[in-house]
Symmetry: C2
């Protein structure tokens, strides 16, 4: 593909590859990114043009890495953007759990998961780490939809068996059953027809410590250690959750997860606002990562995850939409909210406090850091070769068209540098700007022309 590509090899480094040739193998791996002034550029371009395999992006379109969404509650898709005005307890018990309980019905599951995968691809999300439900059938439908539509999916069979926290109509009958079904789901995903390359992967998914018994957490931890598959859960999200785990286990969430064997190089914990310095050091040492969900931080977490300082301490992290605790399916929105949240943390928010007592002044991130979170950092968190436009990475990418009629990305060629254009994209791109979505070298979504 002949294009100008933007990516972020590091948290604070924007790379602009202008009018480059990105070559991709038959298996969907990037084999080379050839710069315009490289002698091979003209010959490679001519070779692809002759073979009919040259694609050229038009003026005003740019290649970006595909977006990696580290935290999506797939079954909550139908309630995205509603019930955000009710207390958390009502949100869970009256909206969320009754909805999640419906996914034993395969027809219903397909009616939700088909558009979910489709719409996330349309928004530019090439990889999603999904919480499913307790239902083998529904989770299989989700995995199949990812495979069928070509999205890189990490799909978790949710486990939750603690009677004091889970409603009777939506709870594992025992730790033993939950562990066995999780193991069976790992097998199911491995054997899905067409999944030989591992486009879809299973995830061990205890909902969070409060909703799981020790026996369940121990069993899932042993499974994680034995199989090496990914792990996801929630961690130290709210004052309540953080305190609850401290009281129950005597240690923090992160330390308890570690003790249960659930903190691995392939673990992603959502939120993690209230990590202690020891927790951060432990996460960094183990190589586990945080799914930073800035939007739901505002709504449900009583505080903002300090991404900047966590990164300075070498902890892994990426970005999550947290659908439907977060209302937006767009990772561009997640980037913007990550920046906004970091400014709120940095500057403080309450005008009635004296300036000296407002903010912590170590927290700001910018649009480059946000793009890194949503792409390269997400790939790193998942231990997958995605998130950058360079040789050896999978070709998971999106084409952003700044000239589509519905675009709020307003570029002024005489005053905007390429870096300015990228900033304007991060601040104003919507799904209308996502012209094409590519996963592992395959075009999996193309926006209908206006």
């Amino acid at each position: 593909m002949q294009c100008t590509a933007f990516d972020t090899p590091q948290a604070d480094a924007l790379r602009v590859q202008s009018d480059a040739l990105v070559t991709v193998s038959g298996e969907g791996q990037i084999t080379a990114v050839i710069a315009r002034d490289d002698p091979r550029w003209a010959t490679e371009r001519a070779r692809h043009a002759a073979a009919g395999s040259l694609r050229e992006l038009p003026e005003g379109s740019y290649l970006l890495p595909g977006m990696v969404d580290l935290h999506v509650h797939a079954p909550q898709w139908p309630q995205m953007g509603k019930a955000l005005d009710v207390p958390l307890e009502a949100w869970l018990q009256q909206n969320t759990f009754p909805l999640e309980a419906r996914y034993g019905d395969e027809t219903f599951a397909e009616s939700v998961y088909r558009p979910l995968v489709q719409q996330l691809l349309a928004n530019g999300t090439t990889t999603a780490m999904y919480f499913g439900t307790l239902h083998d059938s529904g989770n299989r439908v989700l995995a199949e939809q990812c495979l069928r539509q070509g999205q890189r999916g990490l799909v978790g069979r949710v486990a939750m068996d603690e009677p004091s926290q889970c409603p009777a109509f939506y709870r594992d009958v025992s730790a033993q059953v939950a562990i066995a079904e999780t193991e069976a789901f790992i097998e199911t995903v491995a054997r899905l027809p067409g999944n030989a390359h591992g486009l879809v992967r299973p995830v061990i998914t205890p909902r969070f410590i409060p909703s799981c018994t020790d026996a369940l957490l121990e069993g899932l931890g042993a499974l994680a250690q034995r199989t090496g598959v990914h792990v996801q859960t929630h961690c130290s999200e709210s004052d309540w959750a953080h305190q609850h785990v401290l009281e129950r286990t005597g240690v923090t969430d992160a330390q308890a997860l570690h003790r249960f064997g659930l903190l691995t190089r392939r673990t992603v914990v959502a939120h993690a606002n209230f990590l202690t310095p020891d927790d951060v050091a432990l996460m960094a040492q183990v190589g586990a990562s945080v799914a930073h969900c800035p939007l739901s931080n505002f709504y449900f977490a009583n505080s903002v995850f300090p991404a900047r300082s966590g990164h300075a301490q070498r902890m892994g992290m990426g970005l999550g939409s947290d659908i439907s605790g977060g209302y937006s399916p767009s990772m561009f929105d997640a980037c913007r909210h990550a920046i906004t949240a970091s400014y709120a943390l940095d500057e403080g928010v309450d005008p009635d406090l004296p300036a000296a007592q407002r903010g912590r002044h170590d927290a700001r991130i910018d649009h480059v850091f946000a793009l890194w979170l949503a792409t390269a950092a997400g790939g790193q968190a998942l231990d997958l070769p995605i998130g950058r436009i360079e040789a050896g990475q999978q070709f998971d990418a999106i084409v952003v068209d700044c000239r589509t009629p519905d675009s709020n990305v307003c570029v002024w060629p005489d005053i905007d540098s390429p870096a300015d254009v990228l900033q304007k994209i991060i601040y104003n791109a919507t799904r209308s700007n996502v012209a094409q979505t590519w996963v592992q070298g395959a075009l999996v979504h193309r926006r209908a022309a206006a």
Copy 2:
């Protein structure tokens, strides 16, 4: 028009008028909203159908009041979404002032203001209160563009003459000249061909106290008192600005503006984060309003405007995009950021503080309050009959289509009530969902069909 209409007669009251008939006079005023069970419904509908003047919204489309954006820096349009990662001083001196200084060139002004008005209409903004520049020609072009494209525009000739704060290349030569030119611009707008109904109005616009001499503020205050036209300025936005005015005048921004005669029923002050309780009482007494700009609060204001408590104290307010201090031209975005900002203020943001020291717990607003801010409250702030779907109001409205191919508003008819649909619209609508924009009974924008 036969449609289901959503609006907010009060801050916390959502009104759903299902399958109603909205009738509009030739002058663009709503003459009646006839409920489905009203005996007149069928006869009125038949009459309009026979006359060929019946419009029916399709399933999945809804009528909302047009959006009122109380704070737009028109000349900053080309830099929307960039330079947000540089310090305020650099943003002003290296980006903003040099750009604003270019609008003496009418050709350049038209190249910016034509798409600006067009894009705001496409985003659903039916009324905008604009800061222009110091240039009579550029400001006239902006007023003409509003008139030509049918946007309700309040356009201000910016005044700024304080040498210590304004660069030599972009500053009024004297208070006298700035006052005379402001007065001339009021005349210019009144005489614009086609503006007999006052679709476009002039605004007295001292940039903010720090950039104006006392002589200028006094002169503009006298002009405001004499003419009764609208006034706009910035007020108590940042620690620096608030402190600077206190030191220079011995009183707060709001009190100083009042003393200069600039605080009237038709005054809109932007930001106003740091109003004191006395300021709020003064504003409420005078009937002046705040343009709450939640997005730029995060970036430039060192804190968040407490909208909930200001409203409880009966102070007028509405919502502003603050382009380009705010990066988004969408008032749906402004609604969302107003909610997010209110949650940050309510809950606090810093996880290292004990829970008891975090947040103020009087600040939350929801999507209904946010819609009210963006519509009815904005109309009230401007002293104009806009912002609600009811008899006597101007027909300034938008049609929101939830079924457009690029929609992230995902409605599930079997689980979503009309109120849920409205919540989903507020949380996920983008300009792609704005199918039609109406101002004073005229269709001024129609989205191109996909």
